[in-house]
Amino acid sequence: MHELPVTQSILEVVLRHARMNGVSRVHAINLAVGKLSDLEDEWIQQYFDYLSKGTLAEGAKLNIERIPVVFRCTSCRTDFEVDVRKMKDILCPECGKKDFTLVSGREYYIKDMEAQ
């Protein structure tokens, strides 16, 4: 639902970096988005195509790397990936305890862009 303002923000950041680097054309933009976020790849691309018309980034392809949700066991420090949408009775695969901290899954950033 919030893909439009998010896409607008991606475009603004990309255009700012394009100006800073004297870029004439942006071909691809690589994003890292944690699996805790609900962003739909298809919508992001559609909105981007619409918003970027007439800019240096027109036609650029958005590649989204989905960063898995990883928990770290508080007791034995083991890191392991979980599917939060099926989160029921998660136990540490090493020691069987169930106190964790979140290591990754909330990422929301632009890694880099391919440009000329």
């Binding site: 919030h2 923000s9 970096h17 071909h27 805790l36 964790f100 950033y109 880099d112 391919e114």
Partner: protein
């Protein structure tokens, strides 16, 4: 023609919003105004909780409310009837508030005259979780009729809040809501979160909530 090169960006997608949110937080610290961002799905009890909060804390703190509503002033009228200052932000079809909208809404308040301003965010468990509003803390309400499985569907929301209010506990006997399962699911996503069971209808648990909030505000004012 220039060769294609890889240019490192490494910047938050919502960096403009994050920057605006941080500068708003700095201003709030200067003015000693505690801004609380209250989120939930529609009908979970945001307005009822705000009214209970005003009733419980109005003798100790000067309270304002920033109401986000699709297109009505029903909520702000209810809040104003409690004697608190309410400002209505008509959000139209917007699904969330961002720092720019909150900043615009706060222009209607003289921050020096308020100890606590509560943002009643748009009723939605998805979008508001992504946008830093500039508030000091995020709070959310989950009501018993919504079910104990919500952390599985909206994990981000549960992970960005400092406090979770489980409202409508007066419905507990009437449903298969499993409080223990809910707490375990939430604590996995967010071990630091404080969970308080309340009923805005009967008033149960409201004291624990207003105590949490008033301790927070006192601590905030002391620190800045």
């Amino acid at each position: 023609m220039d060769e294609i090169r890889l240019i490192e960006i490494k910047e938050d997608i919502l960096s403009d919003n994050a920057a605006l949110a941080s500068s708003l937080r700095e201003r709030l610290k200067e003015k000693k105004t505690y801004l609380l961002n209250l989120m939930s799905s529609p009908g979970a009890g945001k307005t009822s909780l705000i009214i209970r909060t005003i009733q419980g804390l109005k003798d100790r703190f000067r309270i304002g409310v920033l109401e986000a509503d699709i297109d009505s002033i029903v909520d702000s009228e209810k809040v104003a009837a409690q004697g608190a200052r309410a400002v209505q932000l008509k959000t139209g079809g917007f699904c969330h508030l961002d720092a720019a909208m909150v900043n615009a809404g706060l222009a209607a308040f003289d921050l020096s005259d308020f100890d606590l301003i509560i943002i009643e965010n748009v009723g939605n468990l998805v979008c508001p979780a992504e946008f830093d509003t500039g508030s000091i803390r995020n709070a959310m309400i989950l009501s018993v009729p919504e079910g104990d499985d919500k952390p599985l569907k909206y994990p981000l929301m549960f992970s960005v809040c400092s406090v979770l209010l489980v409202n409508k506990t007066d419905y507990l006997g009437l449903s298969d809501f499993d409080m223990q399962a809910l707490k375990e699911r939430v604590k996995k996503l967010n071990p630091e979160i404080r969970i308080i069971e309340v009923s805005c209808k009967t008033g149960e648990g409201i004291d624990a909530w207003t105590k949490w909030l008033s301790d927070e505000i006192s601590e905030f004012i002391k620190q800045v």
